[in-house]
């Protein structure tokens, strides 16, 4: 008997017992369905995480924050200088394994006001133009401040769309997009001109949702809240970037540090960049403005050289910090490792659940095949009596089992699509599930294997039947 006719016999047998076969397939359907669906969910999760990682500047981005002086160096406490512009220049000079070395000076408790509206930006920093590339910002309207703006300490700022929404109103509220370039705002009561605005950062999923909402057309009562849900979907990295206000470093120093202490002067030791001259006007040591940077950013040129680069930076900084370890490296590696672990765990637990349902499906198939050959002892006896070999019968039963599994597997692939859609409905703020061909092939392959394994024992039992005993069986 050839293979094709074995398949057609198998199909007929399954068709003859439609209901029973369908019930038997259910386990496989669920197994394949859940395997594909869970892998789609995990893939969506992974994509979302990767997007977020890129949004915060990628794995290459490293930042240096101040750290408490270790106890064994406490006696030299007075010599600790913190992160200063000296570090920046030293790194630019002596650390060729890194680039985009960028200082950041932050001020908390800042309020931006305009026409009665007030907003506390999540991220208000004075920095260099290089911050644009470092943090993968894109200025969509206007321009980023440049070296001249910094040198002259101009009162200019570049904002994110979140800041715009808070001060000028969001496109959803107003019905059109406001581009506030050229407008003035007050930052802690100092007048600043907006010279640029970043593009709106959002995850792939949020973008799609927003575009769909746009296509559907504005529903006055509905569009607001819908958008809101999209925005507060916990995509921290994107919102963080949207709620940013950037000003030139020197402006920050003069207007919010040095200026804030009433024209006080630095001690002259390590004052920030070109600010030394203008700041060293007068005042006593006790009221000296803080010359320290909040953060020093840089990017490692080659990710594979991460350790060497960090060592190099450490050597340079040890020198500028008088050998005191009052700084710490922060990389995104931990974050990315956590994500990888989380994804692996999700994949593993989902895989185990799917494997168990496939196993149960397999046991179901085996059970039904055993019942089926018991019912068909006579048929098998007749077939053997007229010339079927061991192999003929073995293949026939095995093919039947595999055909059940294959149909179940195909149905499972369809079911997984429905399942994924259902899950997206249940948790619309999650990441868009991505069904991959790999996962589908894997799940389908598994179901075929399950069919084969489940069929072997019944097929062997059937093929070994003695024709005489089979024919005498009533």
């Amino acid at each position: 008997m050839n293979f094709l006719s074995a398949i057609s016999v198998g199909l007929k047998e399954i068709w003859a017992n439609k209901f029973r076969s369908m019930l038997t397939m259910l386990g496989i359907v669920l197994g394949v369905g859940s395997l594909v669906a869970q892998s789609a969910l995990v893939k969506g999760l992974e994509n979302g995480m990767k997007e977020a990682l890129i949004a915060i500047g990628g794995l290459e981005k490293v930042y240096i924050t101040p750290q408490a002086i270790p106890t064994w160096q406490q006696h030299r406490k007075d010599q600790a200088v913190g992160n200063t512009m000296n570090d920046i220049y030293a790194l630019q000079r002596s650390a060729p394994l890194v680039h985009l070395v960028t200082p950041e000076m932050q001020t908390r408790e800042v309020t931006v006001t305009r026409a009665g509206k007030a907003f506390n930006p999540w991220h208000f920093v004075g920095t260099w133009p290089a911050a644009l590339e470092l943090n993968q910002h894109v200025v969509e309207h206007g321009r980023m401040f440049n070296a001249v703006d910094d040198e002259e300490a101009r009162s200019v700022c570049v904002i994110g769309t979140g800041t715009r929404d808070a001060l000028f109103g969001s496109p959803e509220e107003i019905g059109r997009e406001i581009i506030p370039v050229g407008e003035y705002v007050n930052i802690n009561n100092q007048r600043f001109r907006i010279i640029g605005m970043f593009e709106h950062y959002e995850s792939e999923m949020d973008r799609k949702a927003r575009e769909q909402a746009l296509e559907r057309g504005p529903e006055p009562g509905q569009s607001g809240p819908t958008r809101k849900r999209g925005r507060t979907s916990g995509r921290g990295a994107f919102e963080w970037k949207n709620n940013t206000v950037y000003i030139p470093l020197k402006t920050m120093w003069l207007k919010f540090r040095a200026g804030a202490v009433g024209g006080g002067t630095g001690t002259g030791t390590t004052a920030g960049s070109s600010t030394t001259a203008s700041v060293s006007a007068s005042a006593g040591i006790d009221t000296a403005p803080d010359p320290r940077l909040s953060t020093v950013y840089f990017k490692v040129i080659d990710l594979d050289q991460m350790n060497n680069a960090l060592q190099q930076v450490k050597n340079v900084l040890t020198h500028t910090h008088n050998g005191i370890e009052d700084f710490a490296f922060n990389t995104q590696e931990n974050w990315s490792e956590n994500i990888t672990t989380a994804i692996r765990n999700a994949r593993l637990s989902g895989g185990i659940i799917a494997a168990i349902s496939l196993l149960v499906g397999g046991v179901g198939i085996m059970n039904i095949m055993l019942a089926s050959i018991t019912e068909r002892v006579r048929e098998i006896g007749i077939r053997k009596a007229i010339g079927a070999t061991f192999l003929d019968v073995f293949v026939q039963i095995l093919v039947e089992s595999v055909v059940i599994a294959v149909i179940g597997g195909l149905a499972g692939l369809l079911a997984s699509k429905g399942l994924v859609e259902l899950l997206s409905l249940v948790s619309p703020t999650g990441n868009t599930p991505v069904m991959t061909v790999d996962a589908m092939l894997l799940a389908f392959g598994f179901s075929v294997c399950v069919g084969i394994l489940a069929g072997i024992i019944p097929a062997f039992k059937a093929a070994r039947l003695n024709p005489i005993q089979a024919l005498r069986y009533e």
Binding site: M1, S5, K12, G381, R383, A385, I386, G387, I468, L471
Partner: protein, 243 residues
């Protein structure tokens, strides 16, 4: 040389220490073209003999040669092939597959000998014509009368042109009229030169065949060959009226 040679064949069953000799040292030759009936009381070992002759069962002792093949030395695979190619078997209870059509049932032996589907169809229809069932090809066995089912089974037994056809009480499950028709069919097939051995416990049926073997307690009690005895081989029933 004979088509089938049985030498000192015994079939012994052991039931709880007790020994049952279903066949006890039987030697028997069947030549090509013979028409034989095997007769004996219930439990005498007729079916056992048939099954051993038909390579469905193996003897406990003794040797069988079928068409120059030593059966006891053949592998399972070779036995399946012999059953498929050289032997046609007709059962008392027809043993058709209920889910297949009449045509598919007749095609089945050819499925296992790898005949192409077109040739399968042609030959199956030919065999059905031989038993005058070509107009019932599409029916299911359950839609046929007992006699028609048995004729289907005969067509199936003949379809691979076997060397010999074995029939175990082919009329045992039919009324006497239908049984007679089946018997006429066998007679006709025998006249066409086929080798047929059939089992019966009805002496009237046995009287039709030229050669008659009587079995009692697993032994051959009598071996009557009409040709050798010089008796007329004319059958008692009228040939060949069809129903």
């Amino acid at each position: 040389m004979a088509l089938v040679e049985l030498r000192n064949v015994s079939k012994i069953y052991h039931l709880g220490g007790e020994e049952i000799r279903a066949l006890d040292d039987i030697s028997l030759d069947i030549d090509g073209g013979e028409f034989i009936s095997i007769i004996g009381p219930s439990g005498s070992g007729k079916s056992t003999l048939m099954h051993i002759l038909g390579c469905l069962d193996s003897p406990s002792k003794g040797t069988i040669r079928l068409d120059d093949t030593m059966i006891e030395k053949a592998s399972q695979r070779e036995l399946a092939r012999i059953r498929n190619q050289k032997i046609g078997f007709v059962f008392q209870f027809f043993n058709l597959l209920p889910k297949l059509s009449v045509l598919q049932n007749v095609e089945l032996p050819m499925v296992y000998s790898g005949v192409s589907s077109r040739e399968r169809r042609d030959r199956a229809l030919e065999a059905l014509k031989l038993v005058e069932l070509e107009n019932r090809a599409k029916h299911r066995p359950m839609q046929l009368s007992g006699g028609q089912q048995q004729r289907t089974a005969i067509a199936r037994a003949l379809v691979n042109s076997p060397k010999i056809v074995f029939a175990d009480e082919p009329t045992g499950n039919l009324d006497s009229h239908t049984g007679e028709a089946i018997l006429q069919l066998f007679y006709k097939l025998s006249q066409e030169g086929r080798t047929i051995a059939l089992v019966t416990h009805d002496p009237e049926i046995a009287a039709v065949t030229p050669r008659r073997i009587e079995i009692r307690d697993g032994k051959i009690a009598r071996n009557v060959d009409a040709k050798l005895a010089g008796a007329g081989s004319t059958p008692k029933f009228s040939v060949p009226t069809q129903n």
